[in-house]
């Protein structure tokens, strides 16, 4: 019961055992994907199990290590399949979403943070309320407007604008919070020197808010890179698929190309997982703060 540095050490062993087992189990699906990806085959089984399999044969089928090591899935998913094209589509869409999204969010957040004008409160509240709109309620009208009226089905432009707009409220709230912390005195000095609001925005606010702008940009990028439903609904033509839609194409319906899927998943995931690891502490604080305000 009593705490002494010496006696504490051995009691950690059960915790470590538990954590190691749990971590292994929770990473198992990821090991599994790597196994399938490097197996050089399309099958989703790690190893073939004969009809009257022995315990060892069965055990082999669940150990996430490929029987033969091969990178052929990676090579052919990029070369023989249109996956490179889908990746390019995703990259273009995500990059354009980032540019458009950051521009829209920064300007709006600056106005909300620095000006008092009629409609300011209503605008901020409307952003919050819009977060409650369920996706499908938006999806049907958006589909009719973009595809049936504007003819933007299977086009990257339509997707970019929808993604950029959908991420506006979160980005604006986050940026506004950051802009609010920048002291007004800096601007007052600039005003005395004859700077216009535009100059202040570009020369003072944006440089000072670099970290927040970077986070916003990364968030917009992830929205564009990871989104599945809208892309699956709007992109009819196979050449215009984004990577998520393409990955599902490999294993959805009657197609069972698990090798391509696994290799493609790893390629798609690496940038987002890296970004996520970098971003997670901002995300957690941003999300919970948003929930408290809402």
């Amino acid at each position: 019961m009593k705490e002494r540095p010496g006696t504490d050490e051995p009691s950690h062993l059960p915790l470590h055992i538990f954590l190691i087992i749990f971590t292994f189990l929770s990473l198992y699906p990821i090991f599994w994907v790597f196994t399938i990806a490097f197996s050089g085959q399309q099958s989703l089984a790690i190893a073939d199990v004969p009809a009257n399999a022995t315990f060892v044969e069965r055990l082999r089928a669940i150990i996430p290590w490929p029987k033969e090591f091969s990178t052929s899935n990676f090579v052919s998913v990029m070369k023989d399949q249109p996956f490179a094209r889908w990746l390019l589509n995703s990259a273009i869409v995500a990059a354009a979403t980032t540019v458009v999204g950051v521009f829209l969010a920064c300007t709006a957040a600056y106005a909300f943070s620095r000006f008092i004008f009629p409609g300011r409160r209503a605008g901020l509240m409307s952003f919050l309320v819009s977060q409650m709109f369920p996706g499908t309620l938006m999806l049907i009208p958006l589909y009719i407007i973009l595809v049936k009226w504007l003819g933007l089905g299977s086009s990257r432009i339509g997707l970019v604008f929808v993604y950029a707009t959908v991420s506006i409220p979160f980005c604006v709230w986050m940026l506004k919070g950051y802009f609010d912390t920048i002291p007004k005195e800096l601007e007052e000095a600039a005003i005395m020197d004859g700077a216009s609001p535009g100059t202040i925005f570009v020369r003072i606010i944006l440089p000072l808010a670099k970290p927040a702008v970077a986070v916003t940009a990364l968030f917009s990028f992830m929205t564009g890179w990871n989104e599945f439903i809208l892309a699956a609904t709007f992109m009819d033509k196979e050449v215009m698929y984004t990577a998520p839609v393409g990955l599902r194409f490999f294993v959805g319906g009657f197609s069972q190309q698990w090798g391509y899927f696994a290799a493609g998943s790893i390629i798609v995931s690496i940038p987002v997982v890296a970004l996520f690891m970098f971003l997670q502490k901002y995300l957690v604080s941003g999300l919970t703060a948003g929930a408290v305000k809402g």
Binding site: H12, A45, T107, I140, T165
Partner: protein, 643 residues
Amino acid sequence: MAAGMLHRRRFAIGLILGLIVGLSVLFALYREARNEIASQAAERSGIISLLSLTQLVSETGPSGDAMRQAVSAVASSDSSLKKISVIKGVSLEASTVPQDSAPRRLKRDEKPIFDLGQRLRAAVQTNREEQVARKNEIEIQQIDNGALRLAAPVEEEGSVTGFVMIETSPSAKPSPPSIVTPIIVGLIALAVFLAVGFLFGEKRTALAILALVILSAALAAYGMMVKRATEADNMSVENKLAKQLSEQSTRSAGLLTQLGITPKAQAKPGLWDADVYRTPRGILTDQGTINKTVLAKKEQSFEQQVNKFQIGILVLCLAILAFFGFGVASKLIQTIVLNRQAYLYVTPAMVAMLVLVFFPFLYGIVLSFTGSTLYNTEKPLTEIWTGLRNYYDILGDFSIVKRSDQGISINFQNFYWTFLFTVVWTFCNVTIGVVVGLILALILNTKGLALRPLYRVLLIFPWAMPNYITALIWRGMFHQQFGVINQIIQLFGGTPVSWFEKPFTSFLTALTTNGWLSFPFMMVVSLGALQSIPSDLYEAARVDGASRWQQFRSITLPSLKPALVPAIILSVVWTFNMFNIIFLVTAGEPAGSTEILITQAYKIAFQQYRYGYAAAYSTIIFLILLVYGSIQNKLTKATEAIA
């Protein structure tokens, strides 16, 4: 005095804008109507010529020299027809173009012509079998310059054997109506307003009434002129068509006598003035005169429509007048000018939100009151308006349990089943996420635990993976034959499970997947909160002799609350709307039993294409979330007040 001047100027501006909008809309409508009348007249005239020809050909038979003679006689006497051809089966029996060298077989590149004949025959047959006019029995095609290509079937002894095709000469577009008239009307109205307004002086009410009266009168006057002119246009078209009909009917009769053919049936030229289903319009009689009662009825319905339009335009213009006249506009402009910097910055984002978020949202709600489907998105909403029908169908259907011979079965398509399932799904997931996340956080928070940052990073991985990939991975691992999960079961001597064939096991797969990707969030949040608890609190408790459980209950849990409650609130909404997992892992299998509300709405919209119904479904989801949000808001406020 100055204010009075201002009033008069404002009302004058409002009146001018109202007049411009109203008169130009009326003018545009008039121009459209004229074009429409002209193109309809061309079409009707074409159909009359075509049907008079088919009647002639069905008397002579679709092949033979007599028919060719008749056709060439018609072509030479009628300058409005550029080309006539008669096709029977695969042979071109007659053509007025010499290069065609009829009669001969159709060539390979003339397959579209053959197909056209097949289409017409099928259309006549279908319409006869179904006793309705559903398929076009006359095909009309626009060629350039308003010329038309028309084709109609020829029947022999009650069955279609061939068809006649004609090309009409290009018809001149009607000259656009005079723009001077509306301008004069507008100027007169303005002059009257200025003159009388001068007498009235600065009285605001009087000026408002004056402007209202003048605007209404001007619009009514020009509207009346337009209506008169349109009616006159209509009448002249009818007269022209009647003349054409009687001419062609005499010509046909003459030709038949000339060729020595006694007509098998009495010609009924009144039938020639038909629509594309060959249903007579009934306006022209067999004698080539105009049936006044039918025409009057048609004109009446037209007039009603025009009146509706006019009232709409008038309301719009009066709104413009009021907007400017009562100074709302000038105040608005002042505000905008005063805050132009702020509005400049906020406009791009606001426009984007309006176009792509708020408008679609409102449009979705409007759609939920209609019977919109894939097939009628082009129709105006008023035509497919169904009121509360969709809501009634969704919420009023309580047949969750069905009794059949095999016993009791559940209707998985029922809204209440899906709702219940969604609630259970959300509750289970959030519970699992919180329990697992909290346990892990407590373990990781142990003092002096080695490798803690490594565990933390590794355990975040499930959250970092894109969730659609996660979902597809688990779908693969739950595969009945090759999936790893079943291999593990077999390893311990069990029998493989068909996961997606029973609602409960299917639910387990989705639960596992979602649990896997949602515990890291709770873990990170809890860990952050745990680390911020000052350790002297525990020391004080230990000094007071509190057990570990007591410490947990009175120190740990209360300190976790501020962080955990928002996280739970958020994760309830996330899970409630967790589209990707359900859609990609269970896909609702079996039989839609594991569908949550949002995936069900998606399937109604994009697999059954019932947009209106799906919109109502989504609106209900929104209302549920709204209720949840307000309850949660009240609860947190209440707890805050107590604390």
